[in-house]
Symmetry: C2
Subunit: 316 residues, 2 copies
Amino acid sequence: MVRGAPAIAIVGCLSLAVEIQPEVFTDKKILRQEVEGKLNYLVSARPTAVNMKLAADELISLVNALDKDELVSAEQMKKKFLGAIETMLEKDIADNRAIGDAGANAVLSHCSGDSMVRILTHCNTGTLATAGYGTALGVIRSLHSLGRLEHVYCTETRPYNQGARLTAYELVHDKIPATLVCDSMVSALMRARSITAVVVGADRVATNGDTANKIGTYQIAVVAKHHGVLFYVAAPFTSIDFSIPSGEHIVIEERPEREMSHVADHRIAAPGINCWNPAFDVTPANLITGIITEKGVFSPSELAKHLKTGSDYPHS
Amino acid sequence: MVRGAPAIAIVGCLSLAVEIQPEVFTDKKILRQEVEGKLNYLVSARPTAVNMKLAADELISLVNALDKDELVSAEQMKKKFLGAIETMLEKDIADNRAIGDAGANAVLSHCSGDSMVRILTHCNTGTLATAGYGTALGVIRSLHSLGRLEHVYCTETRPYNQGARLTAYELVHDKIPATLVCDSMVSALMRARSITAVVVGADRVATNGDTANKIGTYQIAVVAKHHGVLFYVAAPFTSIDFSIPSGEHIVIEERPEREMSHVADHRIAAPGINCWNPAFDVTPANLITGIITEKGVFSPSELAKHLKTGSDYPHS
């Protein structure tokens, strides 16, 4: 199973690249139809992640242009299409490193002198969710490589335990000092130990800065506000969906009850109980300190300017 | 394993009752020493739960008085001691019913006409945690029997899943309309559906109303405040510890990492990750709407009056 919004887009496109075998598609029109059909399916499979839709739109435009261009052969069309996917992958890794560095600087700008920072993160946004390095975990990696990271706390991230399984794995692997907490312990942690900042990823950011991310993110934002803790969202610019004005327009996927009632084959909930299992929630912009992108860190209200000037508008 | 502060006291005392076999203890002094030693051990095993200490203090006073009274034989001493434990058990059930009714009235006093209520609860405070009926779950049972309960939401209560296992079991058993949510979903739930009130139990309430309860309670109180949702603590008067002025004096038990890293024998956290596993947290009085006891519902600031006048002081 592939998860993490950027990884969904990358792996979706790469799987398409594998399927477009040279020996099967020798007709440009059939190639275009195949690409368009597969990409639209991938977009519909994960409605909350905007990256997939943006990547799909870009690739569909490309195959349509190549299909119309009579100077391009079917073979050349395939080559250019695969080249575009490869470029996307490379850009994703470079963007993650830029996000990591921008985020580290933003967090450190709130600290005096050479003081160390303590970061809390939710879900997984690392090399297991992106093409590499990570978004929120990229910020953590950058802080660690600068020698300014004292400790990371990661939440379990129920019900699918991406924090306990994946983020914890990456932190142990990278020898970053880290502690796992249950989702219910964030407030107690913020009272017991000073946390410098929360840094999380995003599945989709609306024009006003409202952010859809893994269920539980909104609750952490509420308790961060209550405890006066900085709350950053780290996401590539492609996660910003300028086609929607606010989070009210974000469709939240609901997932099967079994994901909550069982851990592997082990039942953990009483038989017969109903479960509510939304995969994401929306954090309102007013709870977000800043949105860390590869183009810099923006306050939520600054995003709309990018739409108006169009200078950094990803669809322009 | 026995859990739930009132149940710990009741079962602790009942287990002692079983151990005090007539054929073994025929000497009053040995009986007194045995009772005192066992009760002090039970108190030290669960430092957060104040009920055990109060029950122990009462029983130790009793055996000391009986030991000194030369008119009481060893046989009579045992009989009076066992009778005192039985009375405690009966009082616990009666108190729970009184808590349930007082809490239902308090919640309904905020509702217009015959409108139905939606309640969120955390951990387990039902027949599986008390002698019977329950504290917070007693309030829910009373609302249900009044026909005013639309729906109950119960949290999983990680890491030991008392909500998913025990509360969900009791709600399914009693055919009370209920839905399980992850601890991380409470804020999203409060935004998605109107919740009338949160009702939770308590392991220990300080004189100023600060309340120690299962880890995660404090976080629910923070998000209830943020969403303007009523937040009630339901607990017998014996859970109020007038010997401590505030929650700062409450010792929080930390539990083994394995409780977080494993579900039964199934590992759910990456090997090598540290875990922080406090069993309880303290909810400050300013986040609590009211404390529901068998003697009525009090605002946190009203508790101190009981100490000053001594009218309802449980140790007087």
